[in-house]
């Protein structure tokens, strides 16, 4: 049996998305920006605009506030570097959290080298930001606050609406990395006062290598990719039209099926949680309620995560240790460290992330294999 429980790393492309995309690689391959009078190119352009519309609708944004990019990493880079470039002369400060994805943290390191100041909000043991801390940290020099919507490792959902209120009151730009949350839980950029928001298609059953940045109208952000005139002169490069159209189709499907997916992954997650509760020495990380429906981060006392991962993989079950991107890193994950897990427990932590294609029988199989593994490896461990 093959059981994929690593949907936070990437998801399988929905067959309907793939079907829709394939046409835009074959007969509808034209570049709408350069084939002005071609009816085929017109079709490509219309479909890309449909995509934009689908994203905008689900965010409660306007169509011309959606800019397609090559994915979450580019969107995060653009949001932060773009605001830095727009404030090059006067400089200023950025506020973020220590549990952001590397796409944000590394970008902040770069703008720091450019002469901007970086400040971090503390997080509690669940990885939760306290909006009151932001009130204290924000100053006249703050240019941008970047707080992720939901954490990729432990699933905690941040108080975005409260943060948005504070940034709005202070006239500061608010960016959120919604790569893990978009198309999985509700987002309303107006209600939440979000100015910039990153998404990535491969996290919601769309294709890899395509994403978007929502930019609220009126926000001063410089282009990050210089070149031709695409995306309102703000993001150059020939459109990845099949990708963009695939992203739009994935959003359309999610708009219709999100609630159903939520119910299904919550049900299956509960199956695992119920089983895990009966095994001593396993702790669930992240906020107990304010968390992504599909994420389950487990710290298993006296079982090494790499060992659990390999054992599960030999049995056909795919989960991850830490975050996908840091799997090759031997040091413990920065998120787990920040929430206060000592090194040895961080090395005992695995992440299970469910998806809409998972079946109850797969979870039953996982539960059996997992429980047996915990027992087996604990028996092998020295006292």
């Amino acid at each position: 049996m093959y059981v994929y429980l690593n949907n936070a790393a990437t998801t399988k492309t929905d067959g309907r998305v793939l079907f829709k995309m394939s046409k835009y690689y074959s007969e509808l391959f034209e570049n709408p920006m350069t084939s002005n009078y071609s009816p085929l190119a017109k079709n490509v352009e219309d479909e890309m605009e449909n995509s934009r519309e689908n994203v905008a609708k689900l965010l409660n944004a306007k169509r011309d506030e959606i800019y397609f990019t090559s994915g979450g990493t580019e969107s995060d880079n653009w949001a932060i570097k773009g605001v830095a470039l727009s404030n090059w002369d006067k400089k200023g400060e950025f506020i973020s959290t220590p549990i952001e994805h590397m796409a944000v943290l590394k970008t902040l390191e770069t703008v720091k080298k450019w002469g901007f100041d970086i400040k971090f909000l503390p997080v509690d043991k669940y990885g939760m930001v306290d909006p009151n801390d932001l009130k204290n940290l924000i100053t006249k020099k703050t240019l941008l606050v970047s707080v992720m919507h939901a954490n990729n490792e432990i699933g905690t959902i941040e108080p975005i609406e409260e943060i948005g209120k504070i940034t709005k009151e202070n006239g500061v730009i608010f960016h959120t990395d919604a790569v893990q949350s978009f198309c999985h839980i509700d987002i309303d950029v107006n209600k939440m006062n979000i100015d910039l928001l990153s998404i990535s298609a491969h996290k919601f059953y769309g294709p890899k290598g395509v994403g978007a940045l929502y930019i609220r109208k009126g926000i001063d952000i410089s282009p990050f990719m210089d070149g031709g005139h695409q995306e309102n002169e703000l993001r150059s490069g020939t459109h990845n039209s099949p990708g963009i159209i695939g992203l739009g189709e994935a959003v359309k499907i999610a708009t219709e099926e999100m609630e159903e997916e939520k119910k299904s992954v919550l049900f299956m997650k509960k199956m695992i949680e119920d089983r895990v509760k009966n095994i001593e020495g396993i702790n669930i990380n992240g906020h107990p309620e304010k968390r992504l429906p599909n994420n389950l981060s487990l710290t298993i006392n006296r079982v090494n995560a790499e060992t659990m991962l390999t054992y599960l993989a030999v049995n056909g079950i795919i989960v991850s240790a830490g975050s996908a991107c840091s799997a090759k890193e031997k040091s413990a994950s920065h998120v787990l460290k920040t929430i206060g897990l000592p090194d040895e427990l961080a090395h005992n932590t695995i992440r299970i992330s469910l998806g809409k294609f998972n079946l109850v029988k797969e979870i039953e199989y996982f539960n059996e294999v997992f429980e047996y593994g915990v027992k087996k490896f604990r028996e092998m461990a020295p006292k």
Binding site: N304, T310, Y311, D343, A381, K383
Partner: protein, 127 residues
């Protein structure tokens, strides 16, 4: 998964000789600074030969596979042979281990050789 050889996975999934030895002739511990890995080897020696080798292991897959391999390979071998090995021994027998897992594998060699040194010192393992 392909970073590991078939032999490696076989040892990992079916580790040989796991356990403790009552009244061992030597005990050795290997532990990393982060405390995420710990291996304890127990040996019985007769006429300079390793007549029984057992171990307990907490750690990554390479810690498990290396310990298992060592316990099987050195049974009935002279203790002097055991003191000569390094990670090349593991690479030759478990397939080419990537650098980042070698650190854990080294722990098992350390624990095993510590057990032999402990035996040579008279097997006083209370300290």
């Amino acid at each position: 998964m392909e970073i590991y050889s078939k032999t490696f996975i076989d040892h990992f999934m079916n580790p040989r000789n796991v356990g403790e030895i009552e009244n061992p002739d030597g005990i050795g511990i290997g532990e990393n600074p982060q405390k995420s890995g710990k291996i304890v080897f127990y040996i019985k020696v007769k006429d300079n030969k390793l007549i029984d080798i057992k171990y307990k292991v907490l750690g990554c897959p390479s810690a498990i596979s290396s310990s298992s391999l060592i316990s099987e390979f050195f049974r009935d071998k002279l203790i002097e042979n055991a003191l000569k090995i390094d990670t090349n021994f593991l690479k030759e027998n478990l397939g080419n281990l990537p650098e980042d897992v070698l650190e854990c594998a080294k722990l098992s060699i350390a624990a095993f050789q510590n057990a032999i040194l402990n035996y040579k010192k008279g097997g006083n393992y209370d300290n």
